[in-house]
Each structure stands twice: as C-alpha cells, then as structure tokens.
C-alpha cells in the first residue's frame, strides 16, 4: 500500500451514469489482488472532504506502463466530480488496500455471482482464475442489457446472464441463475465456492443461500469509510450473533472481501 499520484488515461461514460476510469499508476503501486480497492482523493479543495473507495476492475502491465481500471457509477457529489475529471488529470490515490478474494487451495469451481456494477471486482477475479486455469462460472445479473458491463471479456468459463427486464439472457434475478447452476451442475460445498459482489439485497440472499448449504462464500462489501487504512475504525462489519466476541472487523483492512455467511446483513448499512 502506498500513496501515489496517477494520471487519468481515460474516463469514459459507457452507459448513462456508468463510467470506466483507466489510471496510469507508478511503479510504487504494488500489484493488486482481485477484490482489493483504492482510496481516491477526488479534489484537493476539500469538497468532498473524504476520499472515496473504489474496487479495482483490473490491473494491466504493458512494458513499463502499469494501469488500473475502475468501473463506477455517478451516485453523489464525489462520483459526480470524478466523472468530470478530464484525461491527463492527476489523481492522488492510496492503495491497493484491503484483502481480496481468497481462492481455495483445494481446486474448486468458483461461482462468480455479480449484480449490476458489482461486476467490477469479479471481472478482475475472472481474469485471475483464467490465468490460473481454475474452473469458474460467471453469473451476472443487471437491470437491463444496458447495465451489463464487461461480460464480453469473460472467456475462461461459462457465462450466464440475467436481466430484470428480460432484454438479454434470463428474465429475472441472478439468484435464480445461481440456484439453477447449483442444481443442474450438481455442485457441492466440497466442489464449489462462491464469490459475489453487488447490491446489498443480492449479497444478503447469496449469503443465505451459501449458509443454508454450507458453501464457502466471499462477498465484496461496501459501506462508508473515512481513513481506508484501519486507523479510524469507521467501517465496522457487523457479524452474526454466533461470531460475537470477534468485535467489528474493519471493512477496509479485514475486508472489503469477507466471509458472507458471517456477516449480519441486517445491520450492514
């Protein structure tokens, strides 16, 4: 982890309000793991006051050039400011931060369950799984085909799409895809593990699915952060009662990827 200045190579609106940001990072930026995030300073005039955390969609090295990608949505003042930064602008970031997805030693099939813009870290993970030649299945649900970002890149494993409006793929929730995949492919806790990222409701449901079946399941969490480095204790992960005594792990250092079956989703903001 380091604080580095990086340069915007591209900051492009892909679909309404959804941007792909490509940043050139210096050598001091160490190689990130899928699921890790960076803490971006969006302006130096104090507005917004705090940095904003963004998961990495990818990390690329070509010759001496290192770049990271972030896939983000405009939801508030910080992301709006970010969306207005032109190519060539320098941005101060701290990263890579947190712990990423842990692929089991034991060879299991990874089921990647992505919802909406939560697809970003899972695309990074899928590339890693492909490099490592690990079997995986990519399940991706979104509101409509316009929100289905990046899936064309998924090449190493099977891909199933779902949309709420039926404009592409299965007409319904990605949760149904998971259920179907689980049953049809005959996965077991011994042969499969789940990695998920997406809206709160989806993660909660996937976590319940996994806990019911005793499957290993990691989710990439989101929540407000201040320092991003474990110092302020502002980003507690609430755990289920049976984990009492573990206190509140800090999302920024013990997460953002965390055992989904341990999280108390009712109490996660």
């Amino acid at each position: 982890m380091n604080q580095v200045d990086c340069t915007i190579i591209e900051n492009r609106e892909l679909t309404r309000g959804n941007f792909l940001l490509t940043l050139r990072v210096p050598r001091q930026f160490s190689k990130p793991q899928p699921g890790q995030f960076v803490h971006l300073r969006l302006s130096t005039d104090g507005e917004p006051l705090l940095r904003r955390p963004y998961s990495l969609e990818g990390f690329f090295e070509r010759g001496r050039i290192r770049a990271i990608r972030i896939y983000y949505s405009v939801v508030g003042r910080g992301s709006r400011i970010l969306s207005m930064h032109p190519k060539g602008r320098e941005l101060d970031l701290i990263g890579p931060l947190g712990v990423g997805f842990q692929i089991s030693r034991k060879k299991k099939t990874s089921l990647l369950v992505a919802g909406g813009r939560g697809v970003a870290p899972l695309l990074f993970l899928a590339r890693r799984l492909r490099e490592r030649k690990r079997p995986h299945v990519f399940l991706f649900g979104a509101k409509s085909k316009y929100e289905l970002y990046g899936y064309r890149d998924v090449r190493g494993g099977r891909l199933h799409l779902a949309t709420d409006d039926g404009s592409v793929g299965y007409h319904g929730s990605v949760l149904d895809l998971l259920q179907r995949e689980w049953e049809e492919a005959g996965h077991t806790p011994d042969t499969a593990e789940i990695f998920t990222c997406g809206p709160h409701g989806l993660l909660h449901a996937v976590a319940d699915f996994a806990r019911d079946r005793g499957v290993r399941c990691e989710a990439s969490l989101e929540g407000p952060m201040a320092c991003g480095v474990g110092a302020c204790r502002g980003c507690p992960i609430p755990l289920r009662p049976e984990h009492d005594g573990a206190g509140y792990p800090a999302m920024c250092v013990e997460g953002p990827v965390y055992d989904a079956t341990a999280v108390d989703w009712e109490r996660l903001p």
Binding site: M1, Q3, L49, L50, G223, P224, V229, R233, I237
Partner: protein, 336 residues
C-alpha cells in the same frame, strides 16, 4: 541566527518538549502503525493515540461515519483493546515511534481514570497523557465528565499525584462555558488543555426516514467546525495560563496558523488527514515558512501573536512560559 536559518519550532507542554507544534489528534491515526507508510512521523511533533479505556470496547453499531457539508459525523464509540490490550499490543508499537507519544485515556469514573493513568505511566512509552474528558460518543458517562467543571476537577485531582508525565485535559466544546472547565483543570494539576473534541451532531436520511448513524447522534469534525473550535479556543486562552493545544477542522497550514496566532502552543490535526496524510508535515513546513516570513527565528513569535482589537480580549495561555522560553534562549544565545 538570521531569519534565513531554519526556524526553531520547539514548543513545550509542561516538561515535554516537542520538536514542533504539530500533533496528530486522537482517533485519527490509531497508535501510529496503520499510517506508517503514509506519514513521516519523524517530521512532526507527535501523535495522540486512539483513546484507551479500561476494558476493551467493540465500539458502536454501524454506520459509524457519514460525510456532511465540509465535515463528518462519527460514532466510533472508542473502539479500543482496553488497558490490557494496550500493554500487550500497542506499547511495542509506540516504543518505536520517532516522535512524541501522547497516550489518550478515558475512564467511566474517577477510579477508572486513576487505573488508566497508573497503567499508562507504568508502560514507560508515554511522553504525556491526554485525559479525554470529552468524548460525545460513549453515552451519559463521557458527557457527564465532559460538561461539568466539578467532575473535571475530581478527575484531575485524583490523577495528578499518580504520574509525573504531563497531563493534557481534552475538553468538549458542547458546553455553555468551556472556560470554566478549563479553569477547573488548570487549577487541579493539568499541564495543558486541548480542545476541541467533536461537536454533537446528527443526520437523517430522508429516503429511508432513518437517522444515518447507528447511534442517532455522533460527533462532528472537519473544516465545518473550524470557526467554532477557534471561538472555543479564544474563550480558553483568555481564561487560563497553562498552554492550550488547539484543534478542529485544520485542513491546511493557514488553519494551523490561525490556532497558533490565537494563542495555542500546538495544534492537532484530525479529520482532514484522512484525505491528506501529508497534512501534518505540510503544516510543519507552513509554520516554518511563516516564521521566516515574519523575519523571526522561533515559533514563539507566532504563538498568541494575533492583533486583538482594543478591548476585545487578552491572551493569557502559555504567556509566562513563552516569555520564559524566549529569555532562556536569548541567554543561551542560540536556537537549534
């Protein structure tokens, strides 16, 4: 010793000499480890640790932070490993820090404060103790101590005999007259007071119709509170003779200077560090530049140097000490 030489930024808080007047505030930087790759601790005056309580505290339910206009609300709830955890885990970290280590403590009653002060003193790594009688996030207990001059007196009276370390009483701004509490601390053994802790605040999410923080109320910090913090400091520097450590919303070197000019002997950097970990160091640089710009050679020339309009107040805090320091340095004929 021309103004072009490196200015002398040393300041004193009781028996503790800081290499410069810039500290990091409690709760911002943990015990120094988390930020070690981002902050050059060797360049700043020191850090104040996250507050240590007697028993470990898991902290408050989430959400614990929310950004507001030029500020943030927090309801961390003093998450910390307790005094035992402090000894076991934090003391080794503090031992190696290349700057002054001010350990913050908070008890739920006088007895707890005593036990904490004894424990921290015995740990051997503290250069001073910040006595947090002001946290707004731990319910009636913290608030009780923080808003009543009598309680401040009781705590100070009880802990003063237990240590020779400088004691800095950290005050809450959530009171009608903060000077009364500062006076009670000064009269009962505090070597300095520090202020402000956060202001009690709240935010509501109109979409969910819920308070945003899990605890409803939290503490407001950041640039939004700077004018309020300065006004509290202004009240206190006119009321006590002991040094005052100022904080609240410092986000650039000029902000730090406002506090020093108003009479603070040192400043603590808080919330704005989350965005800019280099801020404490740039404040040190900014203060040095300012001293040079005044064609002076010591930061003593800045502290309390605000030009007060006729009849609108007199800065007492730290005056004797500063004059003393000036005399000593003049006699010894040189600065660093």
């Amino acid at each position: 010793m021309t103004p072009a030489t490196k200015p002398d930024l040393r300041v004193r808080i009781g028996s503790l000499e800081l290499r410069n007047p810039v500290l990091v505030a409690s709760g911002i930087i943990g015990y120094g480890r988390e930020y070690e790759r981002l902050v050059n601790l060797g360049a700043i005056g020191g850090i104040v640790t996250k507050t240590v309580t007697l028993r470990p505290r898991a902290g408050n339910p989430p959400p614990r932070v929310v950004e507001t206009a030029a500020g943030m609300l927090n309801s961390i709830g003093i998450e910390n490993p307790g005094l035992e955890g402090y000894h076991a885990v934090k003391v080794p970290i503090l031992r190696d820090l290349p700057c002054a280590r001010i350990v913050s403590v908070e008890g739920e009653d006088v007895a707890e404060f005593c036990e904490l002060v004894r424990g921290v003193d015995a740990s051997g790594v503290a250069d001073a103790i910040e006595v947090n009688i002001s946290c707004p996030n731990v319910g009636p207990h913290g608030m009780r101590y923080s808003t009543d001059a009598g309680n401040a007196r009781d705590v100070m009276t009880a802990i003063r005999p237990l240590t020779r370390l400088p004691l800095i009483a950290k005050l809450t701004p959530n009171v009608t007259r903060i000077a009364e509490i500062a006076e009670a601390c000064a009269d009962h053994g505090a070597d300095a007071v520090s202020l402000v802790n956060t202001f009690v605040g709240m935010a509501v999410d109109s979409r969910t119709r819920k308070p945003i923080l899990g605890t409803v109320l939290g503490g407001l910090s950041g640039p939004a509170i700077k004018p309020l913090a300065l006004a509290k400091v202004w009240e206190v520097v006119q009321a006590v003779d002991i040094p005052v450590v100022g904080m609240g919303g410092i986000a650039k070197p000029a902000d730090a200077l406002e506090f020093l000019l108003a009479g603070c002997v040192a400043v603590e950097i808080g919330t704005a560090m989350f965005a800019d970990p280099g801020l404490p160091e740039s404040c040190v640089a900014g203060i040095a530049d300012y001293v040079r710009g005044m064609r002076e050679h010591s930061v003593d020339a800045v502290i309390g140097a605000m030009i007060v309009p006729e009849g609108r107040g007199v800065i007492r805090a730290g005056k004797a000490q500063r004059e003393n320091a000036r005399a000593t340095r003049a006699a010894s004929g040189g600065s660093s």
